[in-house]
Symmetry: C2
Subunit: 336 residues, 2 copies
Amino acid sequence: MARPTLTDVAARAGVSVTTVSRVLNDRGYLSDRVRADVGRAIDELGYRPNEVARSLLGRGTRVVGLIVPTVADPFFGEFAAAVEAGLADRGYRTLLCDSLRSVERETASLELLLAHQVAGIITSTHNDGVSLYRTAGLPIVALDRKLGEGIPDVRSDNVAGAAAATAMLADAGYRRILFITPRDDVRSARRSAHREVLAVRGLPEAVLAYGFSSSLDERRTLIEQTLDATSYDAAFCTDDVSALMAVEWARSRGIRVPDEFGVVGYDGSAAVRHLVPTLTTVLQPVEQLAAECVRLLVRRIEEPEAELPAETVLPVLLRRGSTVREHATVEQQPAR
Amino acid sequence: MARPTLTDVAARAGVSVTTVSRVLNDRGYLSDRVRADVGRAIDELGYRPNEVARSLLGRGTRVVGLIVPTVADPFFGEFAAAVEAGLADRGYRTLLCDSLRSVERETASLELLLAHQVAGIITSTHNDGVSLYRTAGLPIVALDRKLGEGIPDVRSDNVAGAAAATAMLADAGYRRILFITPRDDVRSARRSAHREVLAVRGLPEAVLAYGFSSSLDERRTLIEQTLDATSYDAAFCTDDVSALMAVEWARSRGIRVPDEFGVVGYDGSAAVRHLVPTLTTVLQPVEQLAAECVRLLVRRIEEPEAELPAETVLPVLLRRGSTVREHATVEQQPAR
DNA sequence: CTGAAAGCGCTTACAG
DNA sequence: CTGAAAGCGCTTACAG
């Protein structure tokens, strides 16, 4: 038996579809009797309004598109969970798109979201050059990315976070720090801040950038190929997964962390905080980032003319674990 | 400027909307000239078909609802990522619902999915008593849950996994094993299999079940309150996060793992495998589980009459790390 | 207080 | 090979 429609309910209740619609939306004057009759018919039929039909009537859909590299990553998984919860609280559904695989796929995802008439989009794109964002013509909020005019950028303080991490390593006496990042962009805020602190301290720069589309296995391999204790005595990684791979690399070779090798990560997702509380890392306020993305997007959807901040920068927290030593050693550990 | 519609394209190309629709769907006979004219009009206008309107026409929507406790959990994050990718490959979008918070919320999510006319649902519900699943009247596939007649259950081999884990602990000489699980169900397959192996070995049963809706912090607290080295010498946890909390508990108290305390986890998500390769755990084939859920659901959507297996059980793998010792010690370690 | 009619953006028989 | 008309399930002025 096909799902009952408004017409079925109207027939059963002995009223017009207009009346049923009014009961559903509680608008206009209704006699109690009609209200009761319609309510009963709805219950008996197990009727559920068709949101698809509803959204065809100008009011737009209450669905928001969420684009993340992949919810399999702890940080983005937690971000996605918080976004979904925030949107649900405001009556919006979340259409999920993982963009990890490529620019083409991200563009295709975007096309699909637009075709599905989403009310807005929250994106943490990692593919540059998706120009569609600028011409899509609907509310968009970006996580940590400048997508263009009129697209608010919500992020945490990358400059402060990276600078603090690098300074902490330098203060502890590490001298040859490898900067490990999935992001292949020389001018990223974290990389620039890191470089600046290195310059001030007179330390050399070394970078391993393996690209966002690389798999975890590829990343691990690259880290193992690049790291060696004669060239480096520390790693600053722009994500915790890489940082833990660096820790693992050291352990597997009998290199003591933090005495001989220091590691700082980035993100500080709840999973990592609970799974590996020993990691020293820069905590991003993922819940607040998500909440702010949701708040701004919903605001723009519901008040299209509202003035939104072009940038929102939330503070980070440097969380001390045990993968960086506390004080500079008087003498460098001998290279192994 | 509002988004262009079929009518706009038709006007611009100087043909009827019927013709534009036919070009879009490539059906029926079309002269090359008309085809070209319409194509040009579409490009010039930046026209994109409205999927919402399309799906109103009987053909149904190409959207699938995905219900997981939370994508913030590594296992479900990876499951969700794999489901999203599989569905995308087959032309379906993923509407994400986290159900963690409560039965009410899960029921509400389901209602919403139905209202949005999803073509089907993949659910890994953890709330019992959501009866709506049985009466929803649309294709549903469940991950590791028997929801009712006609709802395929895709899972990995819980009995083999739990039995192997418990046997491994017993073989290594651990005698007082605490079973730690978020799931509050005495008759779960893992718990039953665990109990059975204990019985055969003549070992006592002890369980800490903290409920799915507990937060990570609450779980950690419960673990710390319950575990003590005089009562237990091992923990078998039905998820890796709990297992790592147990490892952390031991470390923080100076109890040596695995010599004095053994730990086995469950899930073996890529994140955990990479972040904490030392953990001994039961690997669920998360990618295959997701692929199978997608395959069955799409099959049922596209061939409603197809006969689907009521149960699909995929094999698990016991992965040896270093949180369980290799052989039974001749003498038990003294309790601390 | 309630209903008939038009219309949202599309597709699908049915004519021509 | 192309178009006019009906209709998907709903809402919204407009009458009455």
